[in-house]
């Protein structure tokens, strides 16, 4: 049986704390208890000493505000589910909270019906936590995850994100019934998705009524994928290319010459700044140093302002335009002809990254 975890409510209003502690204790059965904290510091202390599965956070708090708390908790306790419960009717705070990684954003309920919906949702979150047992599967291929879901006879939709590409797999009673990514559908989409070696996934509620397009068993699908993968490796070896067993590497940068207006590119490790590959530049060090230090500053600025991740940087000069974007653990910096507009630069970068991801 899965170990039940506790719920922690953080709010500076003692009456709210008492009310929701009582309501959650009564209605959320899949928890080992409900704790309260009236300050961010106290909540962080409790997170260190207790098994907290779900944390409910108000945003408007004295000293350390809710967004600061969320940012710390998301980094230190990635397995803890985070829910905002606030009276701030403000779309901007909602966006910022989601950008920092909260699971749900709720306005404080004002009617019995809203309270009921909130409690049901918390129950569902805790139940999922208790059933699944853990989050953040590491070192597991997508094939492993699909097999686990199928063995559990799940009916769910797996939402898979790989770079900038998204995909969905429909599972019904332990069988893969459909897949979709971009314009691909069915088995073709499944093979494409299986070729991805990194990304994130999310299990969404199932859809029994979804039209079935895949009639091959899971084992058959996985075997076909494995065969296609082996053939691709053999082709690479036969053509003299090096196999890349340590996850996806950016394809040869020289391929960028096919894009109109692209002049040069540098790929570097985002944490160390070490250049991994470059194209179109005799000495990549100057661009690499500048891009790495700038991205380091911008990431740190984003954390201090609590505005989410840096998604891209566009720079314009008379001689050249640059676009820098994080790709997994790397940063890619692409140089463009200065005649291109920034919108064109953004669109070309987007195309490059999408192709890269697939």
């Amino acid at each position: 049986m899965a170990l039940l975890t506790k719920i922690l409510i953080l709010d500076d209003d003692e009456e709210i704390l008492a009310l929701f502690q009582k309501l959650l204790s009564q209605h959320v059965t899949a928890s080992a208890g409900v704790l309260t904290a009236n300050s961010g510091q106290r909540a962080l202390g409790l997170l260190e000493s207790e098994q907290i599965g779900l944390m409910i956070v108000d945003l408007n708090l004295p000293r350390m505000d809710g967004l600061q708390v969320i940012s710390i908790v998301r980094r230190k306790y990635p397995q803890t589910r985070l829910v905002v419960l606030t009276s701030l009717h403000d779309e901007q705070f909602r966006a910022r909270a989601y950008a920092l990684g909260v699971d749900q954003y709720w306005l404080k309920p004002e009617t019995d019906m809203e309270t009921g919906m909130f409690l049901e949702s918390m129950e569902a979150l805790m139940r999922r936590e208790a059933q699944v047992g853990f989050r953040g599967v590491q070192n597991k291929s997508l094939g492993d995850i699909i097999q686990i879901e199928c063995l559990a006879q799940s009916t769910s939709v797996l939402k898979i994100t790989h770079g900038t590409t998204e995909a969905r797999l429909w599972l019904s009673r332990g069988e893969v019934v459909d897949a979709q990514t971009g314009e691909l559908k069915g088995e073709e989409a499944f093979q494409k998705i299986l070729s991805w070696t990194e990304g994130t996934f999310e299990s969404l509620p199932g859809d029994e009524s979804h039209t079935r397009t895949i009639f091959v068993s899971v084992q058959g699908l996985l075997l076909n994928s494995a065969q296609a993968f082996d053939e691709a490796i053999q082709e690479q070896v036969a053509s003299g290319a090096e196999a890349t067993p340590q996850g996806p590497r950016p394809p040869a940068l020289s391929g960028l010459s096919g894009y109109v207006g692209v002049e040069c590119a540098v790929v570097q490790d985002a944490s160390t700044g070490q250049s991994e590959d470059h194209w179109g530049i005799h000495d990549p060090k100057s661009i690499s140093d500048w891009a790495h230090q700038s991205m380091k500053d911008f990431r740190s600025l984003g954390e201090r302002l609590k505005v989410g991740e840096i998604r891209r940087v566009l720079c314009a000069g008379n001689e050249r335009k640059f676009a820098i974007s994080p790709v997994g653990t790397r940063d890619v910096c692409v140089g463009f002809q200065s005649r291109l507009g920034l919108t064109e630069v953004r669109d070309i970068l987007r195309t490059i990254l999408t192709q890269w991801a697939s």
Partner: protein, 104 residues
């Protein structure tokens, strides 16, 4: 002091650090000092200085590495910062964005 300020409920002050992301612009001199600003006072000055420092460092570092740039656009998940370099000084624009706008 107005009459309303005597009523404790209406005058209740919160010492929260929570702030809305502002929309506006400011200028900084070559030393990174904020010269003028249209940003609301509710946006902490420390953050304005942080933005200025980051942007000016980016321009300076580019210059040191002989990379010629005069404009930088930073796209965060919920904020866009645009900076234009003007003979060592810079004009910086700050605009909040929704998650949909900031995604590709």
């Amino acid at each position: 002091m107005g009459l309303l300020s005597f009523i404790p409920f209406l005058n209740r002050k919160t010492d929260t650090d929570l702030f809305r992301l502002p929309s506006g612009s400011f200028t900084v001199d070559p030393n990174g000092v904020v010269v003028s600003s249209t940003l609301p006072q509710s946006f902490p000055q420390a953050h304005v200085r942080d933005i200025a420092r980051c942007v000016m460092s980016c321009f300076k570092r580019a210059q040191q590495n002989r990379i010629q740039i005069s404009e930088v656009h930073l796209h965060f998940s919920t904020l866009k910062i645009t900076a234009r370099e003007m003979k060592g000084s810079a004009m910086i624009f700050v605009t909040p964005t929704s998650l949909e706008e900031s995604s590709y």
